[in-house]
């Protein structure tokens, strides 16, 4: 997540999914960096939150919780997609 944020420019969209959803949780060191990243939109995949027992109210404010359809829409909207595995 740290290095992903370092490469995210203004206008970038970051989607957290699978184990990446742990980066969307409030009260962590990463949460502060997300708040500080200006011009970057953040999304987290709802089904992966549920699978891991992470309630929606634990997600950092400003991160949009999305479903699979929105995942596809985001991939289509953004002209370059990098999987940060």
């Amino acid at each position: 997540m740290d290095s992903c944020l370092a490469y995210a420019k203004q206008g970038s969209a970051v989607l957290m999914y699978e184990d990446g959803i742990y980066g969307a949780i409030k009260g962590t060191a990463i949460a502060d960096k997300i708040a500080a990243a200006s011009g970057v939109s953040f999304y987290v995949l709802g089904p992966d939150l549920k699978a891991r027992g992470v309630a929606e109210d634990k997600v950092v404010d400003g991160i949009e919780i999305v479903d699979y359809a929105k995942f596809v829409a985001l991939a289509a909207e953004n002209d370059k997609v990098q999987a940060w595995v």
């Binding site: 699978e18 742990y22 962590t28 549920k50 891991r52 027992g53």
Partner: protein, 136 residues
Amino acid sequence: MSEQIKKFMYLNRRAPYGTIYAWESLEVVLIGAAFDQDVSLAFLDDGVYQLVKGQDTAEVDMKNFSPTYQALGDYDVTKLFVEKESLEERGLTLDDLMPLTYEDEDDDWAEKDSIKVVSRAELADIMEEQDVMFSF
């Protein structure tokens, strides 16, 4: 065959579902439980996420294996050490974890907690006492 009982510890350091390690560890623990050894589990780093309650995998089309941890007590696997620092680093407390219990046959089958939160230093001491460690 030697009758000597050895101390086996399974180290769980990864989150569930993203990789197969957590589930594989649980499978090996259940298989190993048949061998009457002194077994304990340690959950540290992202491994603490394995015990978070309220897991619901219906929408990701994967098996939710978290209820299986509740069965460990019936297999005499009753020592689950969870590292305090790993919980704190992830904003978690004991209340965020599934309540796991076992019935103590030496104490009139009293229901007792299987999870024990220990500090990193305490866990290091417990690790030192082990004969065999499996890392997942």
